[in-house]
Amino acid sequence: MNTEVGISLRDAIPFIPELVIICTGLIAMMLDLVVRKKGPVAAFVVFGTLVAGYAMCKLNGFNEPQSAFLNMFILDGYAGFFKLIFFINLILTVCISYRYMIIEKSSYGEYYSLLTFATAGMMVMASATDLITLYLGLELMALSTYILAGLMRNDRRSNEAALKYFFLGAFSSAFLLYGISLTYGMTGTTNLNEISATIQNLNIAGNPILFLGLIFIMTAFAFKIALAPFHMWAPDVYEGAPTSVTAFMSVGPKAAGFAVLGRVLFEAFGSMQVQWTNILIPLALLTMAVGSIVALSQTNIKRMLAYSSVAHASYMLLGVIAGTPAGLVSTINYLLIYTFMNIGAFAIVILLRSEGFQGQDLDDYRGLAKSNPLAAALMLVFMFSLTGIPPTAGFIGKFYVFMELINADKTYLAVIAVAFSAISAFFYLRVVMYMYMKDSDEPRTISCSPSMNVALAVTALMVIVLGIYPEPVLNYVKTVVFG
C-alpha cells in the first residue's frame, strides 16, 4: 500500500465487524429512547451481533489475513477466533440478563449499548497490531465495563465495585502507557512487527530498559486477566457488579487480555521469550495457589466463582508459558470452553435471584436438587466441568493445555497444576454437595425466561458435546490460528 496516501476507505473493509457492532450499540441507544420495553433493544443487540459474526465469516480473514490502517489493525484467524468468543459472550450475556436486570430494577437500555461497546473494544484489542490501537481498544472496553459494574445505582456494593474497578483499572492503564513509552523509546516504533524487527536488528533483547517496558505492559495485561498478585479487584468487583455483568466480565476482558498478551509476547517480544517465560511462571503458580486456596473459604457463590476464574486464568496462562504456537492454540481452546462453562454457572446464579431473594449464598443452594432438579443438574454439569472431570469440556481444555506444557518440557509445572486442580475440586464439589446432599425447608422460586432457557441449553449442550467429541473444535482452532 502506498503510505503517502495514508488511510483509504478500503481500510474499513476488515473493520466491518467492529463497525457493525458499534452501530448496533449506537442504534440500541437510540432505540431505547423510542421503545419503552427493553426486550426489542436486547433482541436488536443479538441481531446486530449475529450480523457482525456473519460479516466476519464473509470477510474470510481466517484464510487470508487482511491488515488495514497502516498495519495498525489486522483481521486474521487469531483475531477472528477471539472475536467469535466475544460474540458468543455477548449473545449469551444478553440472553441471561434480560429478566435479571428487570428484577434488579436496573433495566436500562444503555446496559445493552455498553455491552456492545465493551465488545467492540475487545474486538479492537484482538485485532491490534500496534500498541496504540491496542490501548484504544483496551480503554474502550475498560470504560464500558466500569460503568457496567456500577449499573445498579442504588446498590452500594455495585458502586463500590465500579469505583474500585475504575481506580485499579486506571492504574493498570498507566502501567500500560508507561510500558508502551519505554518500548517506543528503545525501538522507536509502536508497531508490533517493527518492534520485533528492531529488537533483532539492534540486538537489544537483553536491554534492561526494554525489559522494564515489557514488564509494565505485562503488568497491565495481568490486571485485565486478573493474575495474582494483580487480582485483588476481581473478587470485590465480581461480587458487587450485577451478576450478568460479572458473567460478561469474567469471560470477555479475560479473553481480550489473553488475545493481546499472546500477540504482544509472540509477535513483538518473541526474541525475549526466555525473559517473559521467567516472569509468567511465578505469576501462574501464584495465581493457581491464590485462586484455588482462597476459594476454599468462600461462602458467597459469586466470590467463589471469582476466585475460580482467577484459578482458571492460571491454567490458560500455562498454554502461553509453553511458548509454542500450539501452546497458544491450547489456551484459546480453553478460553472457548471456559466461556461456555463459566457463563453457564453464572446463569444458574442468576436463575436463583428472584424478587426479594439474593440467592448468592452457598446456603441458598441447599436442597436445590429437590425443588428444581433440572437447574441443579445443569449446575452439576458446570461444576464438574470447571473441576475438569470428563466427560465434560473442562477436561478437554485442561488436557490440551497440560499436553502442550509437557510437550514443551515443563512437566513439573503440569504436576503442580494438576495438584492445584485437585484442591480446587473441593469448592466445586461443595456446591454440588449443598444442592444434592443437604435439605432445605424453604421453597425455592427460580426466575426462568425463554432467553435464559436458550442460554442454559446452549451452554450445557456445548459443555457436554465438546467433552465427548471435541475434534471439530480442536481442528477448527488449530487451522484458524495457524492459518
Partner: protein, 516 residues
C-alpha cells in the same frame, strides 16, 4: 491392525454393552413414576447382561490377542481413537460388572425411596463407565471412563448414604482424584514418549528408558494404589464402603476397587516392565502389610459393615500379592481372587443391606441369636463366611491357594506371612458370625420386639442366588474361569520378565543411581 482380532459378530457387541446403560439412563431422565423407573432400570441391566453373554461363549481362549475389537477415529488431531476390545484378563470383569449391576437394582427395590429416578440414573451411568474402563484399548478413553465414574459414585454415596455421608463422599472423591490427576500427567508424558499415541497395545510393546519408566510407574501407582486401595492410602475405603447405600457398597467392593488392580495388569506391567520388576519387592511388602494390618483392624470393629469394609483391605492385599508374585499361579490367582472378592463381598454387602432394612442398626453388639430369628439368612451368610475364610469347596479357597502358592514360589517368607493373614481372616469372620447369629437372642429383635424381623423373601433370595451359585461353581470347577485367562496371563508374564533390561539388575541399579 494385525495383532488383534476384530469383532466378527454382526453387531458391535462391546459398544452395545457400554452404551445400553447410557441409553437407559437417558430414558430415565424422562420418567417420573418410581415403579416404572425401577422396572426400566432392571430391564436395561438385564439387557446389558444378556447382550454381554455371547462374549463368554464366542471368546477364543487359545490366544492372548485382543478380541471383539472395534476401532473408530475419534480425535484425530491428537491421534486418539475409539478402540475397545477384551482379552482373557478383562473378560471376566465385564461379566462381573454386568451381573452385579442387576443385583444392585434388585437390592434397592425397597430400600431406596427418595429420588428413585436419580438413583437409577447413577447406577446405570456407573455400569456404563465400569464396563468402559475394562474394554478401553486407548489410554485416553480409559481415563475418560475412569474419571467419569467419580461423578455418579460421589452422588451415590453423598445422596443416599448413611449418617456420615458427606465426609465419606468428599473423601472418596478427593483421594481418587489426586491419584488420577497424577496419572494424567503420566499419560501425557507417555503419549509423547510413545510417539504421540495412546493406543494401549502399541504402548505395551515399547522399551522405554529406565528413568522414564521409574517416574511413570510412580505416577500410575498413585492412581491405581489409591483405587485398590493399597496400604497406606486405603483410608478412604472404610468410610466410603460403610456410608454408601447397599448398591453403592456392592459396586465399590465388587467392581470399583478391582480397577486399581486391573490398571496394574493392563498398564503398569506391560508398559513399564522394568520398573515393575524393580518395584516388586516394595509392592509385595506393602501387600503383606495390607493383608495383616487389614485383618487386625477387623478385630477392633464394632460396625458390621465397617468390618467387611476393612476385610476388603486385607483381601485386596492378597490380590496385589498374587499379581506381583509375577508367576502363572500368582497372577491367575490374583485375577480369580478379584472376581471372588467381588462375588463374596458383593454378596455380603447385599446381605448386610437386607438385614439393615429390618433392624436399622449395624452395631454388632446389638445383634445376637439371629440364627433362630432368620434361619435362612443365617444359612446363606454362613456360606459366604466360609467362602470369605477360604474353605475348600468355595471360590475363596481356590483364589487364595493359588496366590499363596505363587507367593511361596516368588519369596518364601512372604508366602508364610500371607498365610498368617488367612488364619486371622478366619478369626474375625468366625467371631463376627458368632456374635451375630449365635449367643443369646438380642431382646430388641425377638418376635415380640419393637421391630419385626422377617426372613428373606423371594426377591432377596433371587438377588443372592446367582452369586451363591458362582461361589460353588468356582469352588469346585475353577477351570471354567481360569481357562479364559491362561493365554493372556502367560503373555503378560513373559512380557514383564523378558525385556531389554532383563537379567541386568546391576544396570538397573545404575539407572536408579542416575535418577537421584
Amino acid at each position: 491392525m494385525d495383532n488383534v482380532i476384530m469383532n466378527n459378530l454382526d453387531y458391535p457387541i462391546l459398544s452395545w454393552t457400554v452404551l445400553l446403560p447410557v441409553f437407559g439412563s437417558l430414558l430415565l431422565l424422562f420418567m417420573q413414576n418410581a415403579r416404572a423407573v425401577r422396572w426400566t432400570a432392571l430391564i436395561f441391566t438385564l439387557l446389558t447382561f444378556a447382550i454381554s453373554l455371547p462374549l463368554l461363549t464366542q471368546f477364543d481362549k487359545g490366544t492372548h490377542l485382543m478380541q471383539f475389537v472395534e476401532k473408530h477415529e475419534w480425535i484425530p488431531s491428537w491421534g486418539i481413537n475409539y478402540i475397545i476390545g477384551i482379552d482373557g484378563i478383562s473378560i471376566l470383569f465385564v461379566f462381573l460388572t454386568t451381573i452385579l449391576s442387576i443385583l444392585c437394582v434388585l437390592v434397592s427395590w425397597n430400600s431406596i425411596n427418595t429420588r428413585v429416578r436419580e438413583f437409577h440414573i447413577a447406577i446405570l451411568a456407573m455400569e456404563a463407565a465400569m464396563v468402559g474402563v475394562f474394554v478401553s484399548l486407548d489410554f485416553f478413553l480409559f481415563y475418560l471412563f475412569w474419571e467419569a465414574m467419580l461423578i455418579p459414585m460421589f452422588l451415590l454415596i453423598g445422596v443416599w448414604g448413611g449418617a456420615n455421608k458427606l465426609y465419606a463422599s468428599i473423601k472418596f472423591f478427593l483421594y481418587t482424584l489426586v491419584g488420577s490427576v497424577l496419572m494424567l500427567v503420566g499419560i501425557v508424558v507417555l503419549y509423547f514418549a510413545g510417539g504421540k499415541t495412546l493406543d494401549i497395545l502399541t504402548l505395551s510393546t515399547l522399551s522405554l528408558p529406565m528413568g522414564l519408566q521409574f517416574w511413570l510407574f510412580l505416577a500410575f501407582f498413585a492412581a491405581f494404589a489409591v483405587k485398590v486401595p493399597m496400604f497406606p492410602v486405603h483410608t478412604w475405603l472404610p468410610d466410603a464402603h460403610t456410608e454408601a447405600p447397599t448398591a453403592g457398597s456392592v459396586i465399590l467392593a465388587g467392581v470399583l476397587i478391582k480397577m486399581g488392580a486391573y490398571g496394574f495388569l493392563r498398564f503398569s506391567m506391560p508398559m513399564l516392565p522394568d520398573a515393575t520388576r524393580l518395584f516388586i519387592p516394595v509392592l509385595m511388602v506393602l501387600s503383606v502389610v495390607a493383608i495383616i494390618y487389614g485383618a487386625l483392624v477387623c478385630f477392633a470393629q464394632k460396625d458390621f459393615k465397617r468390618l467387611i469394609a476393612y476385610s476388603s483391605v486385607s483381601h485386596m492385599g492378597f490380590v496385589t500379592l498374587g499379581l506381583f508374585a509375577m508367576n502363572t499361579q500368582g497372577v491367575e490367582g490374583g485375577i480369580l481372587q478379584m472376581i471372588n472378592h467381588g462375588i463374596i463381598t458383593g454378596a455380603m454387602f447385599l446381605m448386610i443391606g437386607m438385614i439393615y432394612e429390618r433392624t436399622h442398626t449395624r452395631v454388632i453388639s446389638e445383634y445376637g441369636g439371629f440364627a433362630k430369628i432368620v434361619p435362612w439368612y443365617a444359612g446363606l451368610f454362613c456360606i459366604l463366611t466360609f467362602a470369605s475364610v477360604g474353605l475348600p469347596g468355595t471360590n475363596g479357597f481356590v483364589g487364595e491357594f493359588l496366590i499363596i502358592f505363587g507367593a511361596f514360589k516368588a519369596k518364601q517368607i512372604i508366602g508364610v506371612l500371607s498365610a498368617l493373614g488367612i488364619i486371622l481372616g478366619a478369626g474375625y469372620m468366625l467371631r463376627l458370625y458368632q456374635d451375630i447369629f449365635f449367643q443369646d437372642a438380642a431382646p430388641d429383635f425377638e418376635k415380640k420386639g419393637k421391630h419385626p424381623v422377617w426372613d428373606l423373601d423371594m426377591r432377596e433370595v433371587l438377588t443372592l442366588a446367582p452369586l451363591l451359585l458362582l461361589v460353588f461353581w468356582i469352588g469346585f470347577y475353577p477351570n471354567t474361569f481360569l481357562s479364559y485367562m491362561h493365554a493372556s496371563v502367560e503373555h503378560l508374564i513373559s512380557r514383564v520378565n523378558y525385556t531389554a533390561y532383563a537379567g541386568q539388575e546391576n544396570l538397573i541399579a545404575k539407572y536408579i543411581m542416575e535418577i537421584f
